[in-house]
């Protein structure tokens, strides 16, 4: 099985795995093939002054964005390590952009990350792979078996903890929903 085989239709699938950039870090940004370079840079908020830099001198955030825009034309866009490269504001921005690529441009996207939290409000399915084998797949962030393969996000761990003896709060992945629920529960 190839990675792209797990995504049959348009949409975004999350894959729990490590991701390494396939970019050659000894190259200059200007030598990376990117269609509509100026527009692409604008789309991901990359400054023009990095064009003459070597990839190895970029921040992880800049490297992530170069990796993404170099793949926009591919049939299936495979990107990864949002959690390791982007701050939370950038991650939210990129998630919105990925969702737009799906809804407006009907793209198929595979997001590889070791953090399940990256997939909140983004993917319709989470897949755990080992090499070429699918070990597990689920669409439920509260699926206990998922966490045999990945770190459990703190919010999910906390909700499970306070509900272990008695159901106090609803399952959520949104901290503001959690606060409202706690408020209702303790009042």
């Amino acid at each position: 099985m190839e990675l792209k085989d797990i995504l049959k239709e348009e949409g975004i699938v999350g894959v729990i795995s490590q991701y390494e950039f396939s970019l050659d870090l000894n190259k200059k940004v200007s030598s990376i093939e990117i269609k509509n370079r100026d527009k692409a840079f604008q789309m991901v908020n990359l400054p023009n002054n990095i064009k003459e830099k070597y990839l190895q001198d970029l921040t992880l955030s800049e490297l992530f964005k170069i990796d993404l825009i170099s793949k926009l034309d591919e049939e299936i866009i495979i990107i990864g390590n949002i959690s390791g490269c982007l701050n939370f504001k950038e991650a939210e921005f990129i998630k919105k952009l990925l969702l737009k690529l799906v809804t407006v441009y009907h793209k198929k996207i595979i997001v590889i990350d070791s953090s399940v939290q990256t997939f909140f409000n983004l993917v319709k399915k989470i897949v755990v792979i080992n090499g070429k084998n699918i070990l597990y797949e689920t669409d439920n962030f509260y699926d206990d078996d998922l966490y045999k393969y990945a770190k459990i996000p703190k919010i999910i761990e906390f909700v499970k903890f306070v509900n272990q003896d008695k159901k106090r709060i609803n399952k959520t992945t949104d901290i503001h929903e959690l606060i409202k629920d706690i408020y209702r529960s303790v009042s």
Binding site: L86, N87, K89, F161
Partner: protein, 148 residues
């Protein structure tokens, strides 16, 4: 320099490592035994994929062997595992000090796009609603403060 430090930033490049010339840089996978070769190590985003318990074990190992360490990460949860925290914005130190005190600088961190550790953010929000008085890092203690 403290012996166990987290550097938290989301926009660093490796140039800042020049500020720590005596530290051996670990930027990929490593074996614990290999760490014994060095007296000072700096993890460059190389603990990101490890669980909290595994990182605690590594820190314990380093402490037991008197190896100074710095963990460079953009994951604020990892910051809670050392007592000293430095926040960088590109190549400048913006703030440093006791981890919890630094993490209370919520506005500064959010301006930089750094999220607070879940329990710190949850505690601060619950404090805003007058539901608790302190910051809790422990689930059981927070549960006790809320429901008992």
């Amino acid at each position: 320099m403290k012996t166990s430090v987290t550097i938290l930033s989301t926009n660093l490049n490796k140039n800042i490592l020049k500020n720590y010339p005596h530290y051996y840089i670990i930027d990929g996978n490593f074996l614990m035994e290999d760490l014994l070769k060095y007296s000072q190590v700096i993890f460059w985003h190389s603990l990101n994929n490890k669980g909290e318990e595994e990182i605690k074990k590594i820190y314990q190992f380093l402490n037991n062997n008197q190896i100074d360490f710095i963990n460079v990460t953009n994951n604020s949860e990892e910051a809670l595992l050392t007592n000293y925290l430095i926040i960088y914005d590109r190549d400048k130190i913006l703030i440093e000090g006791n981890t919890l005190e630094v993490l209370k600088e919520e506005k500064l961190l959010k301006r930089l796009g750094i999220s607070l550790p879940f329990m710190v953010e949850l505690s601060l929000l619950l404090k805003d609603y007058d539901l608790i008085k302190d910051i809790y890092l422990d689930y059981e203690k927070l549960e006790g403060a809320l429901w008992n």
